[in-house]
């Protein structure tokens, strides 16, 4: 790793260092992924080109498709919206792009970030659809937190958001939903799944497209894009994004898996890509038990249980038993033997549970 840097700098005479890509302009930054010193223009070019390659190589889109971009107003989704609309024009993908935002109903956080998304709607000329928890479920996150406190509130938010995104995408009649999950997020998920022993999720979490058998497939064009480069891109391009953390997920709650990834990246930037590569290469036999997909008897949403998780949680809220469906309970689905996911079991490890988007 170190030698690459030395090579790059030693190639040019001292004092007059140039961008290692174009060899013409002064370098403005050290590229986080490779530590090459390059200029801004070349950075934009390689950054966008890599994403273009990922889209093309993985056949993420077909011409004429309607695509919803899960937009929270945060850096990942803002950069995604910007880059996708650029690439769509530049390479003639022929996509109809939409912004899809979820309004969780968190005063002082989501209302502000939605303002950002609304500005993006105008800046990038992409139609925006906002779906709110209140209209879908009858509850805002503010109300839920008022009832259950700050413990487990992220479980509600995560479960509800996942479904809300699908419902919003259905309303927009899109063919696919893209999310801004970046390489760091995916590497972190790989590690967390190893640490908590979840082999089924371990086998799935590195796929670039998920839910292909479901109504609306999701894909992650930023699968190989480093978080740091996304921040850098947003910074240099002066993109308008919202960077406040959710008021209900305290700052200190960033788990040490995230920290560990950052430490690894410092020693060896390519570790993030290597973790993803490992995740893709793991020899997991296809006979590994996958939960059977069915439909929720109540709302019709895909679910491996009798009721989908959102309905279980909602039932708890409406009946005044907010603990229903949280933790190691078999809740309303106790007839079936399948273990419900232990959402609470790995508290100390989990991070980005309240991230701006949801897996």
């Amino acid at each position: 790793m170190a030698s690459e840097v030395v090579d790059a700098t030693a190639a040019k005479p001292r004092g007059g260092r140039f961008c290692t890509v174009c060899n013409d302009r002064r370098p403005a930054l050290k590229r986080p992924k490779t530590l090459e010193q390059i200029c801004k223009e070349c950075f934009y070019a390689v950054f966008e080109d890599e994403i273009h390659r990922v889209i093309v190589d993985n056949h993420l889109f077909k011409p004429g498709e309607r695509i919803a971009i899960g937009a929270s107003g945060g850096k990942d989704s803002t950069v995604l919206a910007y880059v996708l609309s650029e690439l769509n024009i530049r390479h003639g993908y022929g996509l109809d792009l939409f912004l899809l935002s979820i309004d969780e109903g968190i005063t002082g956080y989501r209302d502000d970030s939605l303002e950002t998304v609304k500005r993006n709607e105008i800046q990038y000329g992409l139609p925006l659809k906002v779906v709110s928890y209140k209209e879908l479920y009858g509850w805002t996150m503010d109300e839920i937190v008022k009832l259950i406190g700050l413990k487990n509130n992220c479980t509600f938010c995560g479960v509800f958001r996942r479904q809300a995104l699908d419902r919003g995408a259905a309303l927009l009649k899109v063919d696919k939903l893209v999310t801004g999950h970046n390489a760091d997020d995916i590497a972190e998920t790989v590690l967390l799944n190893i640490l908590r022993g979840d082999i089924a999720r371990l086998s799935r979490c590195t796929s670039i497209t998920t839910g292909e058998d479901g109504p609306i497939p999701r894909c992650k064009p930023f699968k190989y894009t480093y978080e740091k480069e996304i921040v850098m891109y947003a910074y240099f391009k002066r993109l308008d994004y919202f960077s406040t953390e959710c008021i209900y997920s305290p700052n200190a709650y960033r788990g040490f898996a995230r920290e560990f990834i950052k430490d690894l990246e410092r020693i060896r930037p390519r570790a993030i890509l290597d973790i993803i590569k490992s995740g893709e290469d793991f020899r997991i036999s296809t006979s590994t038990k996958m939960p059977e997909q069915g439909n929720c008897e109540r709302c019709g949403y895909i679910s491996s249980q009798k009721w989908c998780k959102a309905c279980v949680l909602l039932e708890g809220l409406n009946r005044g038993l907010p603990k229903l469906g949280i933790g190691r309970t078999r809740g309303l689905n106790n007839e079936s033997n399948k273990d419900m996911k232990e959402t609470n079991g790995t508290k100390g490890l989990q991070s980005k549970q309240c991230g701006t988007l949801d897996f």
Partner: protein, 501 residues
Amino acid sequence: MFAGPLEYFHNPIEVYFCMIVKSEKKKIGKMACNSATCQSGCYGDEHSVDEDDQKRPPVQEDGVSAGGGNFNCDGLCIKCKVNETIAATHPAVSEGGGDRGRFCADCFRSNLFGKFRFAVTSNAMISSSDNVLVAFSGGPSSRVALQFVHEMQQKAQKNFEASRDRLLPVFGVGVAYIDESTIYPVSSHDYDGAINQMKLIVASLAPPAKQFFVVPTQSIYSHDSTDGKDRLTELFGAVSDITGKEDLQVHLRMLSLQKVALENGYTKVVMGTCTSQIACHVLEATVKGQGFSLAADIQYVDARWKIPVVLPLRDCLSEELNMCCILDSLKTVEAFQRPRSGINGLISSFVKLLQEENPSRESTIVRTAGKLTPFCFNRIPEVGDNNGCLATKRRQKKYNLKPSESLPPESYCLICNNPLKKPNGTSSNHFHDGRASSEIYASTCSSCQYQILPKDPTLLENFFLLLPQSMTTLAKDSRDNHKLLRDQIQDCLLSDSDDGA
């Protein structure tokens, strides 16, 4: 099944708590011995593996622990219920985590030995005709491995002497220490002292007497040792990445072990690798992009080498092994222990942190990785029926041996001997020049390419020459494939001369 306790609760939330206690208990009971295969019937301690304290109800009303009672109040071992726990008898011992307050020294020890013995028997690791080489670093893990192998051998010896027909021979045991002082020099005073200590340790484990080998790493070069020393130093000098250096050292250690085992007629190499080390390795391999080959490294048996390597302590935690050393006053030799560095160091401290936060984390990591599909060489190769005495075969309990469905991998990394996902897989680096260097690239895994091979293609060929011949020839013949085919037609072959191997 919940009928009994349910009657006592009226509030559904309480019912749900009761269920939690039950399900956690079941889970913990398994974890107490860190192995799903443990049969020792050990009990769990509900204080050790609790991840969400906030949900824990008062414990006393659940019916499950009725038999055990509130076991720790009296400081008695939960297994034999006679002796005092280790915490009571050895107050100075601070290691061992939850086991301290649960078991007496005897039960703890027999539990640990049970895990070892179960791993050995269920994977057919050691048969009576074997000649076993224990890799001994001086650290607690390999010290316990050595001790346990010795005890097993002693028992076999007793049985042999007691049996009338004397059909079952006693397996032989040798001990090898790989001397890496050429790579990481130590002062000659420390060195001599440590080697002497090891000799004493091995000598104390008799009868039956065990041969002790001190094998310098440079022995992997077939030439005289001074030349080998220079080449080895030059080889390590050519690796710039500290993690790469450390990993190369591990690969060479295995080559040295293989060499000494092969030359001295040993049929198995026993490593003291424990759960904690495997947990670290799982994360290391993941972080280095070796997800494909990971499953090969973490099984009980690794027979991709000429002499199969076995890991009988795979289910033992390092803290248990440390504790065993303390309780049995097994001497360890610390002079050669080095802290790990680079990526490996970071991961070691990360895993340590995780383990402190949750005492079952290391086992969980190993269990997760254990669900990955192993390779066909991850079991003791079957010997033909005509050869090997039937008495041995009868005695082996081979429950873990499933016939392998998978074909052997087509090629192995030249350096780390890991199976390659795609033979001649296209590497991200493109070399315009000579064929030789691109060939070297094609026959290494991406991890070794990155952290061990020199970046500059012009240096690559020189680097290749510095590698021991055993490495470079290993890759040339796709030996396992060939051997496997040969084994199938073995009975029809007339002589050994025409196989060309």
